[in-house]
Structures are given as C-alpha cells and as structure tokens.
C-alpha cells in the first residue's frame, strides 16, 4: 500500500495476477493511494490480518481510504479505479480467486456507497498498474503490450 502527494511521481504495482490493485485519487487535495491485495477475506486468518492487513480486501481497503484522509483526501471526492483479478482457464471455481477478490471489493465499496469510476479486471493477463500523480491518470500495462489509460 502506498499514499502519495508527490506531484512529480507515480505510484506503481507490478504483475498483478489474481490480486487486485485499488487506486484512489483526490483531485482537490491531490492525494493518491494504491493498494495491492492478494486475498478476499481476513477471516481466513485473523491473526495474519492483524499483522498484514494489506494482504486482504476487507482489512486493506478501509485502511487505504483512512490513510488518504490523513493527507487531506475526502471520501466523496476520491476517484476509485481498479485492475487485476485475472483467472486461469477454469470452469469449476477451485482456482477463481481473482473473481473472489473482485467480489469482496465490490461488496465492501457498495456497502460504503463508493462508486468505481473505471475498471480493468478478469481475463488471463498479468497487469501492471500506475497512478500518475501530476494528472491523477491511471495507466494499465498488460505484460508484453503497451501501457494504456484506464
């Protein structure tokens, strides 16, 4: 997880597989945040979630928002974009952790009345996500391809 107010910099996370990258940006306070979580729910291992809250959607996402508030971010101004949640070729669901990661986030944001402005999720691709702090633009790069704006 990272929070930034550095207008010359970028927040970036590499090679998201079934993990999800959540990007938030407040265009007024010019504060941005990026969370890369691996798993949907902390009840898998509450002890671990205490030590590593950013590993799980339900403990990581609230912290991402709270952390941005400390730097002047305001909830209803935050623009939320998400990427990741890829899956292998599998019909049965044993391995569809990407989908479960996505659903956990949707549920949490919906309960808190937060809208997702844009998303690039699912499929079999490995993604890199970058938030450009000077513009608030989010850029997605599929492995082996050019970066594109989300």
């Amino acid at each position: 997880m990272g929070i930034s107010q550095d207008e010359d910099g970028s927040l970036i996370t590499y090679s998201l597989g079934s993990c999800i990258g959540v990007v938030i940006y407040d265009p007024v306070a010019r504060v941005g945040g990026l969370l890369h979580y691996m798993l949907p729910e902390s009840n898998l291992d509450p002890q671990k979630a205490l030590k590593k809250p950013y590993m799980f959607a339900d403990t990581g996402i609230p912290l991402l928002f709270k952390e941005s508030y400390r730097f002047g971010g305001v909830k209803n101004r935050l623009i939320v974009k998400v990427a990741g949640g890829a899956q292998i070729l599998d019909d049965s669901g044993f391995f569809n952790i990407g989908k479960r990661n996505y659903m956990a986030m949707r549920k949490l944001l919906w309960k808190n009345n937060i809208l997702i402005k844009a998303e690039d999720v699912g499929g079999q691709v490995s993604r890199t996500v970058r938030l450009e702090m000077s513009t608030g633009e989010v850029w997605i790069k599929y492995s082996g391809e050019e970066e594109k704006k989300l």
């Binding site: 998201l16 597989g17 691996m38 898998l44 890829a86 292998i88 070729l89 049965s92 490995s126 492995s143």
Partner: protein, 282 residues
C-alpha cells in the same frame, strides 16, 4: 532448418549441469545412500560449497551464529534445507537470466521459480507428505524450457497471442501449435540431456497437463499446483499470464478446497523473505 530443429539445437547449447549436483541427485534417489555421502560429494566442489555457506550466513536465514562448513550447516539447517540451497545456487544462473520473449526481466522467472519451490514445501507440509528433495528441485526448474523457447516466442508473439486471445487457447497449446514444441516438452528434453532423475523429468514435462503423465502422479500433481498457485499470485508473471488450464481432478485427488489455495497464498506471502534469501544464491 525448421523452427523445431532450431529450438532443439539451441537447447543443447545451454551450459551443462554441475556434475557434482547430478551425483548428489543420484545418491538421493538411492535408498541405500546416506546423507553423509551426499554432503561429502558436494564438499569437493568449492564454488558450490562457498555459495551454500554464503546463503546460510545471510541475514534472511537468521542463524544465530555463522557456519563455516557444510557439516555445520547440515547440523543447523537439516539436510533438506541444505540441499535446497545447493540446488538454488546450481540453477540460479540459468533461470535467473532475462527471458524477454515472455516479457520477463532478469530475475523474474527466477522469482517465480523460487516461489514455486517454497510452495512445494508449504504443500508437502499441508498434505502431510514426507519431504521429497526431488520436489523442491523440480519446482525450481519446471520452467527451464522458457529460457530456450523465449526468443522463438518473441518472434511469433502476434500469432501466439491471437490464438490465446481470440480462440481462448492455453498459452501452452499455442506454443505447441506455432513452434512445434511447448516449454514443458522442451524442459523435459533439457533435463533429460542433463541426466536428471526420471521423476523430475516427468514432473517438468507435465507441469501444465498433469492428467496426461501416467506415472509419478503425486510429484506431477504437486508441481502442477505449486506452479499454478505461484501464477495466481502474479509473482514473475509474463506474457503468458494465467493462460493455463485448471484441473479439478488434482484438487480432488488431494482433497483440497478453494480456501486451501487461499491459505497457501497467504503462507507464501509470509515466506517471501525465504524467496529473497534463496534468490540470493544467484
């Protein structure tokens, strides 16, 4: 020369495998040999010994006092861990290089490989199986075929991508169709040239198609799962991404559920320092 012939020719140009490690693998496979014999064999190779000791003494391993001989390391770490460190050192140079055809920079394939190997330990423990040194090594080198195949994948990338994107084919299928051989087949060929044990060659050959192996089912299934879970985490993910087939049969065989996969991922997340330590063997 056809593409296939070219690929096979370039696979024979990989540097040979250190003979002393082959000898160690052979000994491990023999039920009559002792741990002491294996350690004595390795000791003759000073470069490997020095490498092993360097990793043992690295901060990530957290030994209370530095070790100065293999026997001492054996005492503190146990045979399995010692052997794993040795194997990591032996293959790091080959697997650690950039594999640009898969859009993997230097060290990325290596990180995926070491993560798979750590997962093999996590899995062995969760499944209550006896530690099998073959497993760690097979997990480390399961993608060795990519090291040779990548330049050909790069040349034909648009064709392969079209098959994967538009026809929903697995990346493995697409490699086979376009190049005449896939990275699993090629990996088996390479490790055969290296005179590796059959169990390991089989695990590498079928790491994406475990149901077709026919023999060494346990090992093949475990390597399949280690690779798959490492892929899910995204660690060292390249152009092939997650374009591989999931098989319920393997999960049912081990009586594993969805939540178990999540548990393994969380455990790997906790043991990334181990990944870093073993990557230091390079």
């Amino acid at each position: 020369m056809t593409t296939l012939e070219l690929i096979i020719q370039s696979s024979s140009q990989l540097p040979p495998f250190p003979a002393v490690i082959n000898k160690a693998l052979e000994l491990i496979n023999k039920p009559t040999s002792s741990i002491q014999e294996v350690v004595e064999t390795i000791q003759y190779d000073q470069a490997i010994t020095a490498d092993v000791l360097r990793v043992c003494n690295s901060a990530q391993f957290g030994l209370r006092r530095p070790v100065s001989s293999l026997n001492e390391a054996l005492m503190y770490l146990g045979f399995n861990q010692l052997f794993n460190i040795m194997m990591s050192g032996a293959v790091a140079g080959t697997i650690g290089r950039a594999v640009s055809g898969y859009d993997l920079e230097t060290g990325e394939l290596w990180k995926h490989s070491v993560s798979s190997a750590i997962l093999s330990q996590i899995l062995t423990e969760a499944l209550n199986r006896a530690p099998n040194p073959m497993l760690f090594t097979a997990a480390l080198i399961h993608d060795i075929g990519k090291v040779v195949l990548h330049s050909h994948v790069q040349q034909q990338f648009q064709v392969i991508k079209t098959l994967v994107r538009d026809q929903n084919r697995s990346f493995l299928d697409a490699e086979k169709e376009v190049l005449g051989i896939d990275h699993a087949e090629l990996g088996a060929l390479i490790t055969k040239n290296w005179n590796f044990p059959e169990e390991m060659i089989t695990a590498i050959r079928f790491h994406h198609t475990p149901l077709s192996a026919g023999i060494h089912q346990e090992t093949v299934y475990q390597i399949y799962l280690c690779d798959l879970i490492a892929m899910l985490t995204g660690i060292g993910g390249g152009v092939d991404g997650l374009s591989y087939q999931g098989y319920d049969e393997v999960m049912n065989y081990f009586q594993l559920a969805e939540k178990d996969i999540e548990r393994f991922i969380a455990q790997l997340g906790d043991e990334l320092h181990k990944v870093e330590a073993l990557m230091g063997a390079q």
